[in-house]
């Protein structure tokens, strides 16, 4: 591994090329540019700071090992984000925090628990300061189960289609649709509760 250039102004593609040739400083620059995004994705899935730091670093190590596989079809940021998502999902599978096959879990998957409930109306901004709204959304996301939160994040924050989410999570498109629906309904209910408690303050 070589160390010999200032890469701060080089585009990502040039940094990847240099890193492929063993220039560690080029890779360090890539890490510096995208580390917050990679960490944020890990944290949004895991909701645990320590694990998010560890797994985001593991993702960078894997990225270094797989630099040859980066074809440039997507941006480097997208590529490294996919890696950290996979690292997080592998970690959760190892930790057995992935859905069990219990009746309760299956009911949750198919939405049998609440699909007859009336829709809950949520006003996303009413009476909330920006920081407060951020905190409440984060708290509500944290109350979803890992598979439901992950589907929601991949769809809403990563903009992935159902098919891609199913591929990454190793499940059917039908399961993705059910999880997404359940996650949205649950989030709506959680945010409504938070709004109600806010409204009840003097």
């Amino acid at each position: 591994m070589q160390k010999n250039r200032d890469f701060s102004s080089a585009p990502d593609e040039a940094l990847v090329q240099a890193a492929r040739q063993g220039q560690l400083e080029a890779f360090e620059e890539l890490v510096a540019r995208h580390r917050d995004k990679v960490y944020a994705r890990a944290l949004s899935i895991l909701h645990n700071e320590e694990d998010a730091v560890d797994l985001s670093q593991e993702a960078w190590i894997k990225a270094w090992q797989r630099l040859e596989q980066f074809q440039g079809d997507s941006s480097f940021a997208t590529w490294i984000t996919r890696i950290v998502i996979n690292v997080c999902l592998d970690h959760l599978r190892r930790q057995k925090r992935w859905p069990s096959e219990s009746i309760e879990a299956l009911e949750e998957e198919t939405g049998n628990r609440d699909w007859l409930l009336p829709p809950v109306t949520v006003n996303p901004t009413a009476g909330l300061e920006r920081a407060e709204l951020q905190a409440r959304i984060w708290q509500a996301l944290g109350q979803l189960s890992v598979p439901h939160r992950t589907v929601l994040i991949l769809h809403e924050f990563e903009g992935m289609e159902y098919r891609k989410i199913a591929e990454i999570m190793g499940c059917s498109i039908g399961t993705v649709m059910s999880r997404l629906f359940y996650a949205r309904r649950r989030l709506a209910a959680l945010l409504q509760d938070l709004k109600t408690s806010e409204d009840s303050k003097p």
Partner: protein, 160 residues
Amino acid sequence: MTHDEQLKLQAWLDGELSESERQACEARWTHDPQAQALLAQLRHVQATLKQFDESQLRLPESREFYWSRIARALESQASSTAVPAGTGLSPWAWLAQWKRWLAPAALLASLAAVLTLTLPSPGQPDYPEMHLSLADSHATTYRDDAQRLTLVWFTYPAEP
């Protein structure tokens, strides 16, 4: 609305339906108050999530500290995989390579030893054995391994 219809409505919102499906669903849901209410809810959730700013989720570590662990792992990988050109494996690397075979080899050796000690050897009969030995001295030997017994007869006077 059935659950399948709810999922279809969600798929419509997410742009996951084909054009023909989309048109058919729109015609059906336009005047369905339940569908409209659900649609409003899903849109509100989408709008709420759009306001979440992920850039506020920043690493709690400095750039240098965060990078140092990654760098250590990469340096460690590089040193463990690097082989000096033309020199082949160093004695330590050679030993390290062979060490991974030691455990299975030891297991096999232990298994062989246990089998040797517990099973009767193929040449060892499981019945008392009588045979003549030292034919010139006219001695007869009787051996029973099960009883751990060996008897030797001598004829006296020795038969010619």
